[in-house]
């Protein structure tokens, strides 16, 4: 057995490496479980988001698809479904209503499920297949508008159908609110019988594909190259901005958690290795005396740590795997989604992370070991290790930083966390040093010191150990910052996030209100108990020129950009900036200006800048105005948003219809049926199903993130522990010496308690400030949320610091006092 392995066994038995190994195992376990779980959750999220799309990929065309396209889906081993959409009048017993007809093949949808009920407002359940031939499913509004309950008959074109169910949820619903008439779903094979699809009909043909991500991507590339005019590909990227926003935010949260776990692991390992090195200085000096060269020592300890690192990392990976499996199983109900099986990548990643952490943070102090002069065996004071300087850890920090950015998969998030971490370490150490010295030298301290020797010794110790204590306080503050960040700040962030998709968000969109109906509709809504229903004007216009240059679809590379310029814009006018919009650049126009305000994202997609002149045609007329401001808006707010808003003076003369978004509480639905009867020209869109889906995604993410936080929290506690034991040896030795010279137990514990209390207070306050600042930065810069200051944090932070170190003082005093001073001293020689 090689010597390094034997040394590992001996050091392990002696307990020297247990804390270090525990740090590494917990670190790797937390990183791996985070990675495993994040990997699975984000894959599940993407898959669930596909459910909103109904497939992994959707091809849409305004004419029938060529057979070769559909055949290619099958040929590539992908699942394939088809649908035909058109608008047609349906006739029931109570009357006629324009319906958005969707005729689907049996296996629609490929992702997600349709949900149906036996009657309006009855409990619903997932449907096994689409509507059978000869039957239709109607959404609630259509049932009431047509007076066609389940079991009744209705006519569509030349064919007659049986109403078989009430359709309560359709994956694609809500994707295009403005184009959806109440839904009628039927079997694709019944379409010819209706005789509704003829030359000149406005019909949309959908092809759905789903399967292995790689195969889907390959097919997408293949299909895109063959797209003709009027054909397009929808995928998650181009399809649902609000879902994309939720997923991106979820990934940020998960990334952040993984980052914290990794950072904390690094700190814990650095602290534990430092302790190991301090305890091995003498051994190394002896080994130098016994003939070991520097290279030999470095090789031996390097190999010892490498074996330890590999073993602990492997163990951590295994633990991480089981932990995520067990927790995913336990949280299965909460997650509301079956997770895909874990992939191997996170295990490799975790293993690598473990080794990088160990080498980055253990190697620098280990190198000190080889430099121990052999003469230390005769003169003990020789070659005392220099305190860990930041420069020493530069390599480790560099490696960790690279790792973190990689883990986060997001450069900005990574840099924020690393930058914040670096600044926090420097500031913490500097402030702790200053504060401890100031406390011990203050007039109050002198007066207190005059009263009790314990106090005097404690305060003197603070000053004497200012440097070492500052390092310890900084480490403690760091661990505590993480813990606070993961408890208080996390809750605040999660709350703020939940609020961003509020439960009282609008669940109905009302479209097509004519100007002369406004007053009446408003009265009606107020009468139905729906108070806050703003009616916003909407004018449809086509973009024809930018800065005087005619717009052509071919000028734009991006699919989304092409689609945006191709179709009509919904323009709106208003004097005031809508409440849920924010100005990101420029300023809101004054009411008489020839300016417009554009949504930031579309401006970026289409390459518009402040000051650009846009020309639109509305009907036969055209108008131009310059971009005066860019707006940031929340797509997941479920409010009505417009890409382009202009001053009323510019558009008031054009024909406009009005739209509204409002919330209907359960039980108020009856009033809506009345609305549909009184204003047959209006379209009322129920977005609650889509909203429910979006909120499910958010809730699912919150659950996942909370679970992942537990691990980072564990790593934070480990840092706290390592920081606490870092100076234990020295304190025990000092206490033993004091007792040898006649100090009473009370004196020893008293002076330690004073020192610890002061350190705890400083660490607690520092950690509180750290958590608050980092929380604000994250909220504003990364998550784009407003985070109100938390009173709980400011109370709990300092208190936690004081309590933690008081507990530590008590435990450490017990240890010191239970051992005889002679034994402690002999042990420490």
């Amino acid at each position: 057995m090689p010597l390094a392995l034997r040394m590992l066994g001996r050091d392990w038995r002696a307990g020297e490496l247990r804390v270090l190994a525990a740090a590494l195992v917990v670190a790797v376990a937390s990183i791996t479980s985070v990675a495993f779980f994040a990997d699975r959750v984000s894959r599940a999220l993407v898959r669930d988001a596909h459910q909103l799309l109904g497939a992994d990929l959707v091809l849409v065309s305004d004419h029938a698809w060529k057979a070769e396209i559909g055949d290619e889906i099958t040929r590539r081993g992908l699942q394939r479904a088809e649908a035909v959409n058109f608008i047609s009048m349906a006739r029931g017993e109570a009357g006629s209503q324009l319906a958005g007809v969707k005729a689907v093949t049996d296996n629609y949808p490929l992702r997600g499920r349709l949900r149906i009920a036996s009657a309006p407002n009855a409990p619903d359940a997932p449907a096994a297949d689409g509507p059978a031939r000869g039957s239709v499913w109607l959404d609630e509004r259509l049932v009431s508008a047509l007076g066609a309950p389940v079991g009744s008959r209705l006519k569509l074109g030349s064919a007659e159908f049986t109403v078989a169910a009430v359709l309560t949820l359709e994956p694609e619903r809500g994707a295009n609110f403005f184009n959806i008439a109440p839904r009628l779903m039927m079997h694709a094979a019944d379409v010819p019988a209706t005789e509704l699809v003829r030359t000149g009909s406005r019909v949309w043909y959908y092809l759905y594909a789903a399967g292995e991500p790689a195969a889907v991507a390959a097919f997408e590339t293949w299909a895109r190259a063959r797209l003709e005019r009027g054909e397009r590909v929808d995928n998650l990227e181009s399809g649902r901005p609000e879902v994309r926003a939720a997923i991106e935010r979820a990934q940020s949260f998960l990334g952040l958690t993984a980052l914290l776990a990794a950072i904390l692991a690094g700190v814990a390992i650095a602290l534990a290795t430092r302790r190991f090195v301090e305890r091995h200085l003498d051994s190394c000096a002896v080994m130098r005396c016994l003939g070991a060269t520097q290279g030999r020592l470095l090789g031996l300890y390097g190999a010892e740590f490498l074996i330890l690192g590999a073993t602990a990392s492997a163990l951590g990976c295994a633990l991480g795997y089981f932990a995520q499996g067990a927790l995913a199983a336990a949280l299965g109900d909460l997650l509301r989604a079956s997770l895909p099986a874990p992939s191997v990548a996170p295990a490799l990643q975790g293993f690598l992370v473990g080794l990088v952490l160990l080498l980055g943070f253990a190697l620098p102090p280990l190198v000190q070991l080889k430099n121990v002069p052999a003469v230390r065996v005769i003169r003990r004071e020789a070659g005392a290790p220099r305190g860990g300087t930041l420069a020493m850890y530069a390599a480790g920090l560099g490696a960790l930083s690279g790792l973190l950015v990689w883990q986060a998969g997001d450069l900005r998030l990574g840099l924020y966390v690393i930058g914040g971490f670096g600044v926090a370490v420097l500031v913490f150490a500097a402030v702790a040093f200053g504060a401890l010295r100031a406390v011990s030298a203050s007039a109050v301290a002198r007066r207190l010191g005059a009263r009790s020797t314990a106090l005097r010794y404690g305060l003197a110790n603070l000053r004497r150990h200012a440097r070492g204590n500052a390092v310890q306080v900084a480490s403690l503050a760091l661990g505590l910052t993480a813990v606070l960040l993961l408890t208080f700040t996390r809750n605040d962030l999660v709350d703020a996030w939940r609020r961003s998709a509020p439960p009282d968000a609008p669940n109905r969109f009302l479209i097509g209100v004519q100007p002369e109906q406004i007053a009446e509709v408003r009265r009606f809504l107020a009468g139905a108990g729906i108070a806050e229903a703003d009616l916003l004007p909407m004018v449809r216009g086509r973009l024809v020129a930018v800065n005087g240059k005619p717009v052509a679809e071919a000028d734009y590379g991006e699919e989304r950009a092409k689609r945006l310029v191709e179709r009509e814009f919904n323009l709106s006018y208003a004097d005031e900036l809508p409440a849920h919009n924010q100005i990101a650049a420029g300023r809101w126009y004054t009411s008489g200006a020839r300016e417009l305000s554009v949504e930031e994202g579309i401006a970026k997609t289409l390459g518009w800048k402040l000051g650009d002149e846009l020309t639109f045609t509305v009907g036969a007329e055209r108008f131009s105005a310059r971009i005066g401001s860019l707006r940031k808006l929340r797509w997941d707010s479920m409010k009505i948003n417009f890409f382009v808003i202009v001053p009323p003076a510019l558009l008031e003369g054009y024909p406009a219809s009005f739209v509204s978004a409002f919330r209907v509480a359960p039980g108020q639905e009856k009033g809506l049926d009345e609305l549909a009867r009184r204003f047959p020209n209006l379209t009322l869109v129920d977005v609650s199903a889509a909203l429910r889906q979006a909120q499910n995604v958010v809730d699912q993410v919150i659950n996942a993130v909370q679970f992942v936080f537990l691990f980072a929290l564990g790593a934070g506690l480990l840092v706290l522990y390592s920081a606490l034991v870092a100076t234990e040896d020295e304190r025990r030795r000092e206490a033993a010496v004091m007792r040898v010279y006649g100090a009473s137990r009370r004196h020893v514990t008293g002076s330690q308690r004073v020192e610890f209390l002061a350190m705890g207070l400083v660490a607690g306050v520092l950690a509180t400030i750290g958590a608050a600042v980092i929380g604000q930065l994250l909220a504003r810069r990364v998550f784009e949320l407003d985070l109100p200051p938390s009173a709980g944090l400011w109370l709990a932070g300092p208190l936690a610091g004081v309590l933690l170190l008081s507990l530590n003082a008590w435990l450490s005093a017990r240890k010191v006092l239970s051992a005889s001073p002679a034994l402690t001293l002999r042990d420490s020689v």
Partner: protein, 209 residues
């Protein structure tokens, strides 16, 4: 051998020749430079000027790593504070120099010499569970197990009570006789010094007798 002039001069004009098999005591008051002389003889410390010939090698013409190898090969140590590795048991402490030298028979050799110093029953005890005298006997075993040409001892009884000190010294001389090792022992114990074949007295960094 000479060592000399620095800002703080610890040793000066030292000229000392020790022949193989000699047993030399270095005595002197605290601060007379005894321990520094020993450190220099072992190549643990470097003098500002002068040279040391050890086992045929010019010690300070070698670099630190080469000196370490020479120590491993030819020199044994016994210290006042024993310098046993706290994480290793008695057997492992004795095995350590052999293991560092890559010897396959480390365990057998260590067991044998530990039995020789009377600790056959204590092989698996850790230093903190051994008495001072026992710890120093382990240290003696560790020093002699490599069969060094030169043994350097720094106040080997300094941390022991009289009785265990005497026992350790008896053992030290006995082992020394059996192996014919050259012994240089720093001590302030006159009684102990008298048992050596030669006494070197230091005062204020110079040899006075």
């Amino acid at each position: 051998m000479k060592s000399g002039e620095a800002d703080l001069v610890i040793l000066r004009e030292i000229d000392l020749d020790v022949t193989p098999g000699e047993v030399v005591a270095v005595v002197g008051a605290s601060g007379s430079g005894k321990s520094t002389l020993l450190a220099i003889l072992a190549g643990l410390d470097t003098p500002t000027a002068g040279s040391v010939q050890l086992a045929g090698a010019d010690l300070f013409a070698l670099d630190e790593d080469a000196r370490a190898e020479l120590r491993g090969r030819a020199v044994g140590f016994v210290f006042q504070s024993f310098q046993l590795l706290p994480s290793l048991n008695a057997l492992e402490n004795v095995m350590l120099p052999l293991e560092l030298a890559g010897r396959e028979d480390a365990e057998d050799a260590a067991r044998e010499i530990l039995a020789r110093v009377g600790l056959a029953e204590r092989l698996h005890h850790y230093p903190k569970h051994l008495s001072g005298g026992e710890q120093q006997r382990v240290a003696l075993a560790r020093a002699f197990v490599v069969r060094p040409q030169v043994l350097l001892a720094d106040e080997p009884t300094g941390s022991l009570d009289a009785e265990s000190g005497d026992a350790v010294i008896e053992l030290l001389f006995q082992l020394n006789r059996e192996s014919g090792t050259t012994l240089v022992m720093v001590t302030h114990d006159e009684r102990l010094a008298q048992r050596c074949t030669r006494i070197v007295r230091l005062a204020a960094g110079r040899i006075v007798a």
